[in-house]
Amino acid sequence: MADTPPSPLARAVPPGKPALRPFRKRSALPGFSLTFGFTIGWLTLIVLIPLATIFLRSAGMGWAEFVRVGFSDRAIAAYRLSFGTAAAAGAVNAVFGLLVAWVLVRYDFTGKRIIGALVDLPFALPTAVAGIALTALYAPNGWIGRYLEQFGIKVAFTPLGIVIALVFIGLPFVVRSVEPVLADLGKDVEEAAATLGANRFHVFSQIIFPAIAPALLTGFALSFARGVGEYGSVIFISGNMPGKTEIAPLLIVTQLEQYAYAGATAIATVMMLASFAILLLINVIQAASRARYGA
């Protein structure tokens, strides 16, 4: 609506009202102060003030204390595990999420609609349910675990189990990020490349992949960010050995149970700053890709 001239309705504002509001553009619709005020108030009360307490508490404990509890050996091991397993799961999801999105967008086969709906299962299934189900499957006597056991592969109660849980949690982020971009990709460019002599591999690597790369990266980042903070699906399968299979969110809970509020706060602060950095990165990627493709 930016380029259209002011509508006649906008001029129908009663003459008693101020001619121009400095904050918002005039509109014929009512309810701005009510809805805007409620939005800001509720947001501040429920989200902003509670989140600010984390930083307030961290600031209150002093730098030396913050580093001591926020970067203890145990905390660093937990960060390494959380970020490492989340990155590994994000990478697995980037590969298989792209494959699933590709199959769902490009091919027709029976049961496609059901499969498409099933992809969202990790969004709908409570994380604790996913956690105990995966543990039951991958435990040494589980449906999958017992076969892996024969090859000497242990999944449950090892970092590999954490990766499995995070793959489950993060998969829909990649599929749902890539799917619309893949669907919007016109066949004409591919056909042009083909008539110019490119083979299928070249078409994919030179034409398709660059176009979906930003969406794929977004999906990876979303899956990664979710994985770093994930708790419910991981704690059952991870075994929770301090320094070995203890993820950062679990360490926060452990600290809280020992009334070590400073430790819990400092670790939460480090994790939150990391998450915000990832969020910022996603926005930068999206802005860059928008600028490039002019969408």
């Binding site: 309705l9 918002r24 902003l48 989140l51 998969l171 591919e190």
Partner: protein, 288 residues
């Protein structure tokens, strides 16, 4: 047909799509992956729950602790979902019907709870209202319990599910514009009349979609609720927390029986979501 055109065609087909064999291989690998990572966990929930027969399964669901967990979960959803629904509608009305500076910052702030770990979402309320928190002493003095009580669970759930309805409605209402509402107002309708008779019918399916996702998360939330609940049986135990307790007590059948109920909730959510997407051409929740 000239031979050159024929060869150009076959080249084009070879290069714009995969051969039948490659196609089959790609579909098979994708399906195998989904079967192992999505389908098998879902099936195992029901299979483990029913391991010792339907009677044991049913018994686990009707224990007093399980019943009270189910009731609490329903109560939490019944309070937090409407709150976020009202917020979502108000926020998307303000954001999509008016122009003001800082709009994209506001949208980012509304999305903020999505990028916070569930455990941290619980922790912030402990830091505010816990015994050692900013308002802890005042609350203790006035004998108000928030942490390790139902209000804390509601607060954490509202925080976790905060963006769901708003993020569904904002793109939808942005796309619909405000011409309908302007027409209603110019014909003499009041603001409320315009909302009830023009806006609400326009957005109802999108709203239902957002409410559906919000509800699934509100009922299934584990991490945030676990931190603020205190795990008091029969009092502050929601269904996901009850699953954890039973599991940690090695009552696997009980844990999976209650988990099956939650899995049914997930399935109902998925079916309803798919029907909405399919009938009303709505977009998926993860799309931006």
């Amino acid at each position: 047909m000239s031979p050159s055109l024929l060869s150009a065609r076959s080249v084009s087909r070879r290069s714009t799509s995969e051969g039948p064999f490659a196609r089959l291989a790609l579909i098979s690998v994708a399906m195998l992956f989904l079967a192992f990572f999505l389908l098998l966990p879902l099936v195992s929930v029901f299979s483990e729950g029913l391991k010792q027969g339907v009677d044991v399964f049913a018994e686990a669901i009707v224990t007093p602790d399980a019943i009270s967990a189910i009731k609490l979960t329903l109560l939490i959803a019944a309070i937090s979902v409407p709150l976020n629904m009202v917020f979502g509608i108000a926020a998307s009305w303000a954001i999509t019907k008016f122009r003001f500076p800082g709009k994209s910052i506001l949208i980012t702030l509304i999305d903020l709870p999505f990028s916070v770990s569930p455990v941290v979402s619980g922790l912030i309320f402990v830091l505010l209202f816990g015994a050692n928190g900013y308002f802890g002493a005042w609350l203790a003095e006035h004998d108000v319990r928030i942490i390790f009580a139902v209000p804390g669970i509601i607060l954490a759930t509202v925080f976790i599910t905060f963006p769901f309805v708003a993020r569904e409605l904002i793109p939808l209402m942005m796309e619909q514009g405000k011409a309908d509402e302007e027409a209603a107002i110019s014909l003499g309708a009041s603001g409320w009349q315009t909302f009830w008779h023009v806006t609400l019918p326009n957005i109802r399916w999108g709203l239902l979609y957002g409410v559906l996702l919000c509800n699934a998360r509100a009922m299934g939330e584990f991490g945030a609720v676990s931190v603020v609940s205190g795990h008091i049986r029969g009092e502050t135990n929601t269904m996901p927390l009850h699953v954890e307790i039973l599991y940690n007590e090695y009552d696997f059948v009980g844990a999976f029986a209650v988990a099956s109920l939650l899995a049914c909730l997930a399935l109902v959510t998925l079916v309803a979501k798919t029907v909405l997407e399919w009938r009303f051409d709505l977009h998926g929740g993860a799309k931006h």
